[in-house]
Symmetry: C2
Subunit: 146 residues, 2 copies
């Protein structure tokens, strides 16, 4: 039984981020890959949409310059033949501030011939912003829910 | 071929929110259900974790008092035997302000005997907060990514 493309990609991405080694991940990315991590790009320029292998390699390099992955737990995984979705919880260190950041993430990915064809990632972005700022943002309580 | 539990649950949840009818969804929730929608509970008291059917019915009622679903698109769906994950894009109306809210959401769900056993939901919460406030929150640009 062949290993699912997700696992090979995940190992290579982990290595790309923590060791700044892009060699292992480059052949696992489709030339026309579609990539999106939804979130506030004004604060985090490496969030947002990218198209094509070179743009995606560049954004992985930028992410690698900003964080190290300290540990992660897979909370849920669903695999199809060429698709994968997981929810993960990461413990990161921001190289900017040396601060620990705890981040929950959901991704939906498609592979083609063992290469990443598309990936979309959702984060709890408000929590990420507050942790990065190092202080809470005051929010009004909405009223009409009771 | 039996319909996947996800579709029956999704229809009943949609109806519960838009028509404030909890009768159809009540039998589709396990007594010991685990429920979490990650996000800022100070602003949105119906976010956060709930345990057990009555707490979950109450939180669905609170959500129904706050929003109407205007339309939604399923962007990705993965189904296992008793599991499901999807990424959806919702057009909502906040009953608080009558404002339109556009919301992307990822969920991972488990069913048991056709009933929801657990669900965890991730949102782009920063975007949700900004839309609800009706104004952007100024963010500093992080520096060490280039």
């Amino acid at each position: 039984m062949t290993e699912h493309s997700l696992w090979r990609f995940a190992r290579a991405l982990h290595r790309a981020i923590n060791e700044r080694q892009l060699e292992a991940i480059e052949p696992l990315i489709d030339d026309d890959v579609e990539w999106a991590i939804y979130g506030p790009i004004d604060m985090f320029p490496f969030l947002g949409a990218r198209r094509g292998k070179s743009a995606v390699l560049e954004v992985i390099r930028q992410i690698a310059n900003y964080v190290r992955v300290y540990r992660f737990d897979r909370e849920s995984v669903l695999l199809g033949a060429d698709t994968a979705a997981s929810m993960l919880r990461f413990s990161l260190t921001s190289l900017d501030s040396n601060k620990p950041i705890s981040l929950r993430l959901a991704h939906f990915a498609q592979f083609k011939g063992g290469r990443l064809r598309s990936i979309r990632v959702l984060l709890d972005t408000f929590d990420l912003v507050e942790q990065t700022l190092g202080r809470p943002i005051h929010l009004p309580k909405i009223t009409s829910f009771a």
